[in-house]
């Protein structure tokens, strides 16, 4: 049985139908990329899984538990975490308060020392308010805030967007370490090469439909598939 099983997921913004019968599966310890053009429905898929957007129909099972239609805090307590594209750091709280808040209801939360080992920069900045952090530091904090809950699965929405290449490199290494340690991840990323260097498999989404499901090897062997769907 897969850790995450999604079937027939349909989501709407008002009257506009955004996701059409989305189906995907993610096994434990697997890293899966969700690729697609702008507006294809990648972020909406992640938000629907997390309950930030309530899907109208469909099933989302996390470790066998049905979570479609549940409130976000219930889904979070079931072990899912979404790192939003906009990072959504609490600017009025400092770094450490952001982490403490995140771990508040998590039974197996990481000790902060483990977070600071992974992100030494956050230790240095632990008394800084969220608003005073650089973009890269905010992204580290957004990821750290998800990890502190010791989630079963992490959804990363464009984690490398808008970061300097050196920071992308650094964060990518961190994510790769996480993956090697067995963290289950779904990553949405425009930076295909970054995504593919992390992922074991990928789904391609187009206009709200999942149109391809490929292994990393298949993607390397068939660059024309990427070209056809993503224009790269």
């Amino acid at each position: 049985m897969s850790l995450l099983e999604v079937h027939g997921l349909n989501a709407y913004y008002g009257d506009s139908h955004i996701l059409f019968d989305v189906a995907l599966e993610v096994a434990e310890h697997e890293v899966v990329a969700l690729l697609g053009r702008n507006g294809a429905g990648k972020s909406t898929t992640l938000k629907s899984l997390m309950g930030v957007v309530t899907p109208r129909t469909g099933s989302v099972k996390l470790d066998g538990m049905e979570i479609a239609g549940s409130k976000s805090h219930v889904i979070a307590q079931a072990g899912m975490q979404l790192v939003h594209e906009e990072r959504r750091i609490f600017g009025s709280l400092n770094v450490e308060e952001n982490l403490v808040l995140a771990g508040h209801t998590a039974p197996n939360r990481w000790p902060l020392s483990r977070i600071y080992e992974m992100f030494p920069r956050l230790r240095e900045r632990r008394s800084s308010r969220g608003t005073d952090l650089s973009g890269g530091e905010q992204q580290m904090l957004a990821i750290a805030r998800a990890l502190v809950r010791d989630p079963r699965i992490v959804l990363l929405d464009e984690p490398f967007e808008g970061l300097a290449p050196i920071l992308v490199h650094e964060l990518l290494a961190t994510c790769r370490n996480l993956a090697e340690a067995g963290q289950t991840i779904i990553v949405v990323e425009q930076n295909i090469s970054a995504a593919m260097s992390l992922a074991d498999r990928a789904y391609i989404i187009n206009n709200g439909h999942i149109v391809e499901s490929l292994t990393a090897q298949q993607m390397r062997d068939n660059p024309d598939v990427l070209h056809r769907h993503l224009g790269v």
């Binding site: 997390m50 309950g51 930030v52 409130k71 976000s72 805090h73 979070a76 307590q77 975490q81 979404l82 939003h84 959504r88 609490f90 600017g91 009025s92 709280l93 308060e97 403490v100 808040l101 995140a102 508040h104 209801t105 998590a106 805030r145 809950r149």
Partner: protein, 290 residues
């Protein structure tokens, strides 16, 4: 007008400002966290006064009256949130405004039904009756006590908001309640608590104010308007902003009254307009709500 008259009027402004600061901090944390403008907030102020009045009539004790007034309004606030307001979180702002405005009317008329329209009065506690000499003028002792009581209440509210885990969650919720929920914290329970605390702030002010002004069912109506202006001046969702805005509004209302009380609202709204032109998010507001 002489100098001591001016200073006395500034003291009046301080008393009013302190009360407005407390009531407004309740309104601003509710709006900041839930995104619901609670137009029944003035009614909470009024009900706090009447609840305190009843408790005072029954026991003759001022401290019991204050505690009972505040506690009852907190429970009422939680009930309102659970039974009515929570059904409106996903609905347009107009609906939220209409339902809380309607609730306010219902409460005012229920109290009128029970107590009539004649004013009731709660005497100041015996130790705070009479006047106190400030050197240059004498001033009613109880009004000085009000400033002290309200300052303590604001300090407690500050400590809860800035020094406790609950306060941290509330401050995070004021910024981004969706994100708080995504981090596994039941934000709807937080909403309930915030609504209760916010209502309690108004109810507490209502009973503390009762010995200063007489109690009538519509005592909350003008307070509601003033509180709303204070929140806008201070910045929506900002607790320090509510305190600063309250103190400013108290002085504007009080000092304008020296010249012509009829102009005090004109000056208050003029001040709000200027603040909005210069700082659209209010004096200490950090962001605008969409």
């Amino acid at each position: 007008m002489n100098w001591s008259n001016l200073v006395a009027q500034m003291f009046n402004g301080l008393v009013l400002g302190a009360l407005l600061a407390l009531i407004s901090s309740g309104l601003t944390i509710i709006y900041g966290t839930l995104g619901v403008l609670n137009l029944a907030h003035g009614a909470m102020f009024m009900i706090g006064g009447y609840a305190g009045y009843l408790a005072f009539e029954a026991t003759g004790s001022y401290p019991i009256a204050v505690v009972a007034g505040a506690a009852l309004v907190m429970v009422l606030g939680i009930l309102i949130e659970r039974v009515i307001v929570r059904h409106f979180y996903g609905r347009p702002a107009e609906d939220q405004i209409l339902v809380t405005f309607g609730l306010g009317i219902v409460f005012v008329e229920l109290v009128r039904l029970g107590f009539g329209s004649l004013s009731r009065s709660v005497p100041p506690p015996s130790w705070a009756q009479g006047v106190t000499s400030l050197g240059f003028t004498v001033y009613p002792t109880y009004r000085l006590v009000v400033v002290g009581i309200v300052a303590v209440a604001l300090l407690i509210l500050y400590l809860v908001l800035y020094r406790t885990r609950l306060g941290m969650i509330v401050r995070a919720g004021i910024e981004d309640s969706v994100m708080v929920d995504s981090l596994g914290i039941n934000v709807y329970r937080v909403f309930m608590v915030v609504f209760g605390i916010g209502a309690m702030a108004a109810g507490f002010a209502g009973i503390v104010n009762a010995p200063v002004a007489s109690l009538t069912p519509d005592v909350g109506e003008s307070i509601m308007i003033e509180t709303f202006v204070v929140v806008v001046i201070g910045g929506v969702g900002s607790f320090p902003g509510a305190i600063l805005g309250g103190l400013i509004a108290g002085q504007i209302l009080s000092l304008t009254s020296i010249v012509d009380p009829g102009y005090s609202y004109v000056m208050l709204f003029a001040a709000m307009t200027i603040v909005l032109l210069v700082r659209p998010r209010g004096l200490l507001g950090s962001r605008s709500r969409d």
